[in-house]
Symmetry: D2
Subunit: 277 residues, 4 copies
Amino acid sequence: MICFTFHCPDRPGIVAELSAFLAEHRCNILALEQHVEQDRFFIRIEWEDNGAWQDSDAFAADFCALPVSVGGELDIHFFNRPQSLGLFVSREPHALLEVLNKIELGDLVDAQVSFIIGNVDHSAIAARVGVPFYFVPTKDNPDFEAQQLEIIAKHNPDFIGLARYMKILSEEFIDRAACPIINIHHSFLPSFVGAKPYEMAYERGVKLMGATSHFVIPELDQGPIIEQDVSRIRSGYSVEKLKQIGRDTEKKVFAQALKKVLEHKTVVFSGRTVVFE
Amino acid sequence: MICFTFHCPDRPGIVAELSAFLAEHRCNILALEQHVEQDRFFIRIEWEDNGAWQDSDAFAADFCALPVSVGGELDIHFFNRPQSLGLFVSREPHALLEVLNKIELGDLVDAQVSFIIGNVDHSAIAARVGVPFYFVPTKDNPDFEAQQLEIIAKHNPDFIGLARYMKILSEEFIDRAACPIINIHHSFLPSFVGAKPYEMAYERGVKLMGATSHFVIPELDQGPIIEQDVSRIRSGYSVEKLKQIGRDTEKKVFAQALKKVLEHKTVVFSGRTVVFE
Amino acid sequence: MICFTFHCPDRPGIVAELSAFLAEHRCNILALEQHVEQDRFFIRIEWEDNGAWQDSDAFAADFCALPVSVGGELDIHFFNRPQSLGLFVSREPHALLEVLNKIELGDLVDAQVSFIIGNVDHSAIAARVGVPFYFVPTKDNPDFEAQQLEIIAKHNPDFIGLARYMKILSEEFIDRAACPIINIHHSFLPSFVGAKPYEMAYERGVKLMGATSHFVIPELDQGPIIEQDVSRIRSGYSVEKLKQIGRDTEKKVFAQALKKVLEHKTVVFSGRTVVFE
Amino acid sequence: MICFTFHCPDRPGIVAELSAFLAEHRCNILALEQHVEQDRFFIRIEWEDNGAWQDSDAFAADFCALPVSVGGELDIHFFNRPQSLGLFVSREPHALLEVLNKIELGDLVDAQVSFIIGNVDHSAIAARVGVPFYFVPTKDNPDFEAQQLEIIAKHNPDFIGLARYMKILSEEFIDRAACPIINIHHSFLPSFVGAKPYEMAYERGVKLMGATSHFVIPELDQGPIIEQDVSRIRSGYSVEKLKQIGRDTEKKVFAQALKKVLEHKTVVFSGRTVVFE
């Protein structure tokens, strides 16, 4: 299977141009999703790989010749190899376990975890599934980002997932990691930015609490949102109980966001994530 | 705005053929949704009316010339006039009130209620919104279906909605009504077919109960499902409380189903309803 | 039926003391809900009225003699008369219509609307249900709060509901209204405080949007939250569509919050609302 | 902590009698939940263990002396030791993994898995968490129930969980297992009884599909329901996709049901499960 996402200024005839291009190359469209938002045209098309193009570069070269390509942005992906994922974790491993389980069960698109970095030791969990674990303490270790970047450079992952990694990434780190980074935040953003969302939710007396998965940008908890969900809170629940319930929401939202990213169903534009179904 | 839904056996090139056809007529596609299910291709396209066709017949005539049209089924709709709705009701008016309110607020596509038929008198509600109400008793009145059909024939509605009308329609009535009929059933079908779903749900001890809106066919509660939703039941709720909570689910599901039908976002194929987003 | 809510510092034996008190007066407890939160004991008890007390004052007098009453707060209510509700509305009447419908259907505890005040004319809606409507413009009318307070004083409602009333209440108004005021805010508080939540939700690209019903305090949108709910947003939804979907969430949340208040199932303590089931 | 659930025919004064009994023994009630359903009184009380009773037998002996105990049913539990769980599994391990993870994370009440029986080999998963795995083939092995019962007898678990075990249990097996058995069924019962619910849900075109956890009784899929949840289905989803989405619902519902059982928050009466919050 091959898919691309594409967005450009809207004008008549884009669908016709794109589908004619694929028809010329005898591609069978499996799924097409399209919408216009604030005069911007967004599309995602999936088709069976019929060998018309060898690889992404060959496709992009042909695509560039289309009039519509001017001023647009293309993401093309051939699903002919597993994508690799680097995972970061701190004390709580529930989001990490969820992702590892889903990969094992085949419930994420063909993906593999190439490494796990923790500032708390979770080597036993990593060993179970045969993934290298790197313990990189962040306390009393001024070089921790450099050490993490070295590991990243070695494994060169397609994506990095922060599976409840409780340390703020520096702007330089984000730049140098050189791949999209997906975080799970334990609140319904934009409510309760920061490190203590369950305590803040309790204090405010909200009746639903949530979790948010987003792309990481230098501004803390401000990145484009990929997925969110909520759970109902009843009166009398303690902060501890909120955290316990929250773990289920967090792991579900994080896995769902990673699935969308690995399926190439997300496009970031103007600070927002367009998510295809 | 104009839209069509179309479905046909799947093969390569359908999207290209359809979008080229629209591009030739200089139509600007606003939204396109498409998927393949069990080798059947389903599509819905919306575009701005640019005067390329006068009416549905003119469009259909051109469409018939397309190779893809063979073996397919087309529904074309020009949103250039309000669609008319006939509503049936029995004792409980909550679903009726919801639809009347939504139309008043402009939250259903340009629609108007042309008549209300009840086997219980709700003329006061009808009077509020200036819609004719026909009281047609079903008890001790063997001719009630003939009387109802006469009213239908007079108003000739595009669709009929059964807003908690608690009488089974005969096969002959369905045939002669000659327009799609949408029902709201007060259970999560296929569970609890029949007239006492809340009592049955209570007895069985389910933890969620639901409502189902479906197209009416001669087989009771077996028609193609358009929309469903559920509410959570807690231990200790009486049957009365289930009914009260259920009313909110019923009215929401019924209004949502009518909205999809009025937006021409439903296609019935092989006993199932395909619903576009 | 009679019910009370009560809260006090926690210590052993409170339930025993309270239930013995009721048993002495031969009251049959129908429902009891109790929990401890941060060393505070919260309880709500419902029982059949057996004539043991004539009215709230008689009950409160006996209750005061209990050792547990010291340092606690009691709310006692005899459900022997309809409670009265004053409603405020601005341009959009969906939340108003929902409450009027629910009262008509008997889906709110025995309640009646004693007046509707609008800064936009909705007298036709009020006329349908035989409720006095007062048009009090807020533009170019510096005395509008005084005029509203005069109407409130005349009708003396048990509660005031702001059914999408888009004007900020002054601290003096809140004081002088002298009854609890329940608002529906069109966002998932504490996100998107202020007048343009749907626009802000769109900009931020959230994947769920919500509504919040809360008691009104002088600080804008900071009052104790009674009820919240959310709806899912899909990519491609316009701000207009968010508003349309939002109306359904708003009216549901507002009606649910009023129901809890009218059933005397809410207790405000320490800036939060405890809500009994 | 200690808790009991109790149910008996309703009459005035039960709460007073029970809470006075606990107050006499200087017990501090932490949580009390009570309701009346069809003239039956249901209650659950939690209190801090103050050493008033050595064990369940001592408590039950004192409880029997209460007038209210006549005609009632008591379940008393001291949370002073981990409860043991035996798990059965077939081909799909997602529900098993979820329970193992939750126990590891401390998100189920103090519990331990004492054994896993599979008719498919999942010994690697069991080895990870140091739990004995027994491979008991059910094909071409007429003695499989006897072999399973031998393992059960050896480990003597408090509860058995069927974590997507796809073999029908005989009435004799259920009797001889001699402990409550909790199943997860992959549909929203009572819809789609049997082995192919996702295929049936697809055929019927339902818009939500669900999962149900229930106590096992000899009648297939008819046992008292503990917990249910649903997921939304969109048009175009294949049966395979329904199964993938379904796995998330199944594992969540199963873990939630086990949690309620392990917290002694369930009471079975008259074919239904009363579930306390």
